[in-house]
Symmetry: C2
Subunit: 238 residues, 2 copies
DNA sequence: GAGGTTTTCGCCTTATAGACGATTACCTGC
DNA sequence: GCAGGTAATCGTCTATAAGGCGAAAACCTC
């Protein structure tokens, strides 16, 4: 606990075991899903839990969750990772007090990681029984993703490098949980300069029909639209 | 560390001292300001720091920050409190590793807490030298507040129970950092059903002029507008 | 009651996005 | 190679939200 180096000693603060968890979301088979593994041992045996684990002595939280996720998916397939929240309920783990910091991760539809035998994608609309307080993290992560789809370019993290507008519509519809009109989606993405055409055409569909243009996101860095929709600065100052 | 009760023992997870910090924001003298105290001892002697401290054994993080804040302000004057982020930089405290979870708190303009001698409101636009990584928490808190002023009713936490539109305009202008037009602000607040007239008139101003109607927020519970501004569900399903 | 000050209201313009039908461009099968 | 089917794309209309601005209202003091 608390090495005394540098200048002076740390106050007598309590120390607590700390774990990191990840809510990794992806659109799988047309449904927004979360990466979970099935516990073998008590507590919560046979229930589904989020991937995660402890934090090493000189390791930051983000590095810790990246390390734990590497056992489940290729880390380079993680197109987004942001901190979600820290839970501190004293009884969230029946074995003793553990603080937990959760992250929201995203894997694109195009990635197809080979999962361990106890691990699977669970549709967020039809979750099996979950362990600990993990359901709360999942709920928060889904809400956060849905909100950010509207005012940021996080969509890039869910989508493949190149896609047709129909594919993008399907991804957004699945992630948001309601049908999105392709025309409007394209206009919104275009007006915000989030996507651009690649100049290529997709392979024609199996059932005929006009081949679609393919698009890509201009940037895979997270950006926020405007700052916000309302209460903007007066015109001259934008 | 990790009592073994219930079922099984905790994995051998590292434990770390954990502190809570609060970025308490309020509009003071027409400027958005943050509550800080001046350190007397090393490290960072004479620099300004956020209020906060350790977490007791059976205490949740929110309870801990509330307890620490009680030494600075009346807790019932805290009109808003939400978790911000957890920092884990190994060297954020030179004395040893400490994880820190920060909260965003808000105190209304109408509250005038009596502050300890080492404590003061510091304008966020003109901060003195700060201790540790506290400046990062402050920056994040200000950004979060400014964003939420646009799409939630957090404004209620900054404003008195009753106010004139001119007062609300001044509060919003100070908090956002740019001038807000009173006409638009009133219309936006009204359209979203966030405020309502009290039916009372304010005392006439000292310099003459028409006395203003007073208003109040309909609810002091946090609510989010719409869900979001764009990519809404199709009409039928709202 | 004249002149000054501030609030409140109404109207106009702009920006953004949802709805929907028309058109285009490709397929398959005859 | 042409008819019919299918999906992508475009154009136009409408709805909604919000910024700008000036006129009118309501109070003050002198």
């Amino acid at each position: 606990m608390a090495r005394a180096d540098g200048e002076g000693a740390l106050p007598e603060w309590q120390a607590y075991p700390h774990e990191v968890l990840a809510v990794v979301l992806s659109v799988r088979d047309g449904r927004l899903s979360v990466l979970m593994w099935r516990r073998a041992k008590a507590p919560f045996a046979r229930r589904w839990a989020l991937p995660g684990g402890g934090v090493l002595a000189h390791e930051r939280l983000r590095a810790a969750i990246t390390r734990h996720l590497a056992e489940k998916v290729e880390v380079r397939e993680l197109t987004h990772l942001e901190q979600l929240a820290t839970h501190s309920n004293v009884h969230r783990d029946p074995r003793g007090r553990v603080l937990a910091t959760a992250y929201l991760g995203i894997v694109p539809t195009s990635a197809t990681p080979v999962l361990p035998a106890d691990t699977a994608w669970q549709p967020v609309g039809d979750l099996p029984p979950t362990a600990f307080d993990h359901i709360d993290f999942i709920t928060a992560a889904v809400e956060r993703l849905r909100a950010k789809l509207s005012y940021t370019n996080v969509g890039h993290a869910l989508a493949p490098d190149e896609f047709t507008l129909a594919e993008l519509r399907d991804i957004f519809s699945a992630a948001l949980g309601y049908p999105v009109a392709q025309t409007n989606l394209a206009r919104v993405m275009d007006r915000r300069h989030l996507i651009e055409p690649t100049g290529q055409r997709s392979a024609p569909g199996h059932a005929g029909g006009r081949p679609a243009m393919t698009y890509r996101f201009r940037s895979r860095e997270l950006s926020v639209t405007d700052p916000f929709a309302t209460l903007r600065p007066p015109r001259g100052r934008r």
